[in-house]
């Protein structure tokens, strides 16, 4: 359940704060691929949580 709470927290937090992150993307000097890097990190985090869940359920 802790894993789910963490996920809920991340997604809701991300939802509320995403405009702040987004405003930074359009700033000159910021690498154009930054949003995709952040997105990739989120996917990696989800994958890690999924692996952890599988281990927990064994």
């Amino acid at each position: 359940m802790y894993v789910y709470r963490l996920m809920l927290f991340l997604v809701l937090g991300g939802y509320l704060l995403s405009p702040l992150i987004m405003s930074g993307w359009a700033t000159p000097g910021v690498a154009w691929y930054r949003p995709f890097v952040i997105w990739g990190v989120l996917i990696a985090l989800t994958l890690w949580l999924e692996q952890k869940r599988k281990l927990d359920e064994r």
Partner: protein, 977 residues
């Protein structure tokens, strides 16, 4: 405009042929199920979400809103990141109750067929703009590729081809309620569009630009002019877009694929990272294509959405842009038509015209769905012709997503608020839909200005875009009305039960009631009234197969499971409302039976199945439950439990061993239907006024066993189930020991009696014998001498009897206080043979002593000699002239088995059970005292040995074998064998 029309039709036809071949290969099993059922195939199939909007619409949005285009991908990716708390509970419901669509789920939860109908109509209205978007992009793409004058006609040809292709899926047999081939086709489409998009992105990055650094340099240099025209998305708009695309999950085709086609929870959780990854790869090329087009100053006659076509004059690159769009539009249109036709059948047609006993219900349903598939696809084309051509992709897409988002409050209430009821949901949905219709949908259709209903206090919304205002107002009014009406109105019992079944934290307490139908055959007969004979038989057989049951099984538990399974299967066929109506009407519960009680066995079996999903305290409690369950199951005493209605709930391992009946075959039965003698025996215990029934004789496996039964009532209260628990103890061994004890006590009392009699008779007899002796010396009269001789012979006989009686009476005391010594058994037998021969009687009987000289037993030599003399004497007396008596000794366990075998007439079976009782003899009167064998028994018992009689011995037709088992003498250093 380089490609020919025929070439484009060839690409389109070839693409559809490829999809058809893929479906065929999966259906025929040419592709291994390990591949087709792999979680990654499912995740790729979910890529159908990336419709034509993802290929063309995103470019349009990226050009005007910059990174705002990402909301389309991030919204649904967020929903998948929440898979464990949002998607998995819905998947559990959908799988348990065989629900195939959002309308099914709503109709099930809010217990109303009209709710299902309303959701279906909302879905239909919402997806029409989305379908129009697909058709519009396809028409425009064909126009851009060929320059054809009538792209709408070409789009119509394409739609007809799609409808025909879609029909093949309607007729396909379903495996486990899912289409493997449909998933494979969707996955292949996703793979093609992803490859095409990555190809376009790669061209932009490495052919137009010189890698990522060059892109950065261009953006900070010449590209700034283009970036200046981009209006960055307002934070509030960004959040609203995220929410709308989050609700994209509720689109009929996405819902169908995510929940109805998913193979397992594991598959869905794998998709929680795999789908966002797919969407990331789809989104990445979008800005690259846009910037490449801007850098090249690419021509885009139909708007920035189709910029990819202008990146190069190369037909190959344009074909790639066309193929990406073709794969996206085909997959989306196919799946929308398929999912929506199912919803229309279940929630509009079958509700309006309940299925009569059609001659062939399956055929009728199949053709109905095929017709609806065609109608949906052509409806999309028609909407495009009337509406789509006048609007851009963003307007069409947003209209669809805002409409579908109206189901979001109802869905969240379904999962997390058991207090929500039908009236609240309907009122909320109606208010939201009204705002959406007048604010977005109708203006789209009619071209009239949008009527945005801004509530008092919402004046700040006045300058906002219409889509944003409509989204906020419709969702707020929807949620608010749902809450207020639900709180203000009464919730029905049915809704409350369904709410418990749907709620994430539900405590599901299924009840059990007896059914009127007695077995599977009766189910078929009842359902035939609704479905026709053949369909009813097929559905019942299918359900029995699913559960692995026999049609003759009449256990109430089994019948309830069969009813549930039938309802679920029928729900998959014709929706939950119709399925429930049919099952309630034709498979009713008995009204005269006992009241509803909790179905403990079902709860347990479900807990077993869901174990891996329990976490935290629930898991701890489940561990405790398993421990107690195991304790009862492994209890070395037989245990069974009955519910209040007399249904068997538990039958533990010990009882299964004792009865030879496996628990799985009887649990769920009524007591009366248990195999003999259990039904009657347990009934006797339940009916008895006393809590205990001792040593009830029962014939089990041909032998008589003595069972003791102890019962206790499981006191029922409002919350705890009642019933009865019965312990069954096998007391057969104890009964045998008790019988032995009684026998021994009888022997002891006879011994005491014999000792007294011997003492009283002994003295007078000695006197008589002495007087007779004296008389012989005082007379020469031959008659008197003969008489005295006879008197002496008779007194001798009486003396022998008395001596035997005394010997028997003293049995058991002789060894007390005496040390046992090693006794050579061969020597004892030799001495006994010698003594027997001294009697000069029956000298024609041969004795053969085969005992090994080295074998010794622990005992008293004199007492054992007495045993052997008695046994050999009996053997001799029973033998005929020339017969042999064999004495053998073989080690057995820690002792020695000594057997005396004769070839005589044997022992009458009627005498065999009384052989060791005093005064029992097979000899003629005057020849035997009947004390020999009781004495042998007594002495052998003193030596802690045992005695067996076989008459005739195994392998012989006549004779008797008496075997003694005596503890063997262990030499020092020798271990017992």
């Amino acid at each position: 405009m380089n490609a020919s029309l025929a070439g484009m039709l060839g690409v389109g036809g070839g693409f559809l042929l490829l999809l058809w071949l893929c479906a065929l290969a999966v259906d025929r099993g040419w592709i291994s199920t390990r591949i087709t059922r792999h979680p990654l195939v499912y995740a790729l199939a979910l890529g159908v979400y990336a419709s034509a909007w993802a290929i063309y619409g995103s470019l349009e949005l990226a050009a005007t809103s910059g990174y705002g285009y990402l909301t389309y991908y991030l919204g649904v990716a967020g929903a998948f990141l929440l898979a464990p708390v949002l998607l998995v509970p819905i998947q559990r419901l959908v799988r348990t109750h065989q629900l195939a669509s959002l309308a099914d789920l709503f109709a099930f939860r809010y217990r109303s067929r009209w709710v299902g109908t309303l959701i279906t109509l909302v879905s239909l209205l919402a997806v029409l703009p989305l379908l129009a978007l697909q058709v519009q992009t396809m028409g425009n793409a064909i126009y851009l590729m060929t320059g054809a004058a009538s792209p709408a006609t070409l789009a119509l040809v394409f739609c007809v081809l799609l409808a025909l292709f879609d029909m093949t899926f309607v007729g396909r047999r379903r495996i486990d309620g899912r289409h493997d081939s449909l998933l494979a086709v969707m996955a292949l489409s996703s793979l093609i569009k992803l490859s095409a998009m990555l190809g376009l992105g790669g061209f932009a990055l490495f052919a137009v630009f010189d890698g990522p650094a060059d892109v950065q340099a261009w953006l900070e240099g010449p590209g700034q002019a283009f970036q200046a025209s981009v209006v960055q998305t307002d934070p509030a708009h960004w959040r609203s877009l995220l929410l709308l695309f989050f609700a994209g999950l509720l689109m009929p085709h996405i819902f169908h694929l995510v929940f109805a086609e998913t193979r397992s929870r594991h598959t869905l959780l794998q998709a929680s990272w795999a789908l966002p990854l797919f969407l990331l790869l789809m989104a990445l090329p979008v800005p690259l294509i846009l910037w490449a087009g801007q850098r090249l100053g690419a021509d885009a006659p139909l708007g920035t959405a189709y910029l990819a076509f202008g990146l190069s004059e190369s037909v190959g690159l344009q074909a790639l842009a066309f193929l990406a769009g073709l794969a996206a539009t085909s997959a989306t249109t196919l799946l929308i038509a398929l999912a929506l036709s199912g919803m229309l059948v279940n929630h509009v047609f079958l509700v309006a015209h309940p299925p009569e006993a059609h001659h062939d219900l399956y055929r009728w349903l199949r053709w109905l769905r095929r017709g609806l598939v065609t109608a949906v696809v052509l409806g999309g084309w028609l909407f495009y012709r009337i509406v789509g051509v006048h609007h851009d992709l963003t307007s069409l897409g947003l209209a669809a997503f805002v409409g579908m988002a109206q189901c979001l409050p109802g869905l969240l209430a379904l999962l997390y608020w058991p207090g929500a009821n039908r009236r609240g949901m309907l009122a909320g949905l109606a208010s939201g839909i009204l705002v959406w219709l007048v604010g977005l949908w109708l203006p789209l259709l009619t071209g009239l200005p949008a009527l945005v209903l801004i509530p008092p206090g919402g004046e700040a919304l006045a300058g906002e875009p219409t889509w944003y205002t409509v989204t906020l107002v419709s969702l707020a009014s929807n949620a608010l009305v749902l809450i207020v009406v639900s709180l203000a109105t009464r919730t029905s019992e049915g809704e409350r039960a369904a709410a418990e079944a749907c709620s994430v934290d539900a405590v599901i307490r299924p009840k059990r009631l007896p059914l009127e139908a007695a077995n599977g055959e009766a189910f078929k007969a009842s359902l035939a009234h609704a479905l026709g004979e053949s369909v009813a038989a097929r559905e019942v057989d299918h359900a029995l197969d699913d559960l692995g049951l026999s049609p003759q099984d009449g256990r109430p538990y089994v019948l309830r499971r069969l009813r549930d399974r039938l309802q679920a299967n029928l729900s998959g066929l014709m929706g939950p409302s119709v399925a429930q109506d049919i099952v309630d009407r034709y498979l009713p519960y008995r009204q005269d039976g006992p009241g509803a009680t909790e179905d403990i066995h079902f709860v347990e079996s479900r807990l077993e199945a869901y174990r891996s999903r329990l976490t935290g305290l629930a898991r701890e409690l489940d561990g405790l439950r398993r421990y107690h369950r195991r304790t009862l199951t492994r209890l070395p005493v037989g245990l069974c439990a009955f519910g209040e209605d007399g249904e068997l709930l538990m039958w533990n391992d010990a009882l299964a061993r004792l009865s030879g009946i496996e628990g799985a075959s009887v649990i769920g039965s009524r007591r009366e239907s248990l195999p003999a003698p259990w039904g009657e025996l347990l009934g006797r215990s339940i009916a008895a006024p006393d809590s205990h029934l001792y040593k009830q004789p029962v014939t089990l496996g041909g032998t008589t066993r003595y069972l003791s039964l102890h019962k206790a009532a499981l006191e029922g209260s409002d919350s705890d189930p009642g019933g009865m628990v019965i312990l069954v103890e096998d007391h057969s061994e104890m009964k045998w020991l008790e019988d032995e004890l009684v026998h021994a006590a009888r022997l002891a009392s006879i011994g005491q009696l014999a000792a007294g009699v011997a003492h009283e008779i002994g003295n007078p007899i000695t006197g008589i014998s002495s007087l007779a002796q004296n008389l012989r010396y005082e007379t020469d009269d031959p008659e008197v001498l003969e008489t005295t001789e006879q008197i002496q012979q008779l007194t001798d006989r009486v003396s022998r009897i008395v001596s035997s009686l005394v010997g028997f009476a003293h049995g058991g005391r002789h060894l007390a206080g005496r040390e046992l010594a090693p006794v050579g058994i061969a020597e004892v037998v030799d001495e006994a043979i010698h003594l027997i021969h001294l009697a000069r009687s029956r000298e024609d009987v041969r004795f053969d002593n085969r005992c090994p000289a080295a074998e010794r037993v622990e005992g008293d030599a004199q007492r054992l000699l007495q045993v052997m003399v008695n046994l050999l004497g009996n053997a001799r007396d029973a033998s005929g002239p020339g017969d042999g008596v064999t004495i053998e000794a073989v080690p057995e366990g820690s002792g020695l088995r000594i057997s005396v075998t004769d070839e005589g007439a044997g022992i009458d079976p009627s005498m065999r059970d009384h052989l060791f009782e005093p005064f029992t003899t097979t000899k003629p009167p005057g020849e035997g005292t009947g004390l020999g064998l009781p004495l042998v028994y007594s002495i052998v018992a003193e030596h802690h040995g045992s005695l067996e009689v076989e008459s005739p011995p195994p392998g012989s037709e006549r004779g008797t074998r008496i075997s003694l088992w005596l503890p063997r003498h262990q030499k020092e250093g020798e271990t017992p064998r």
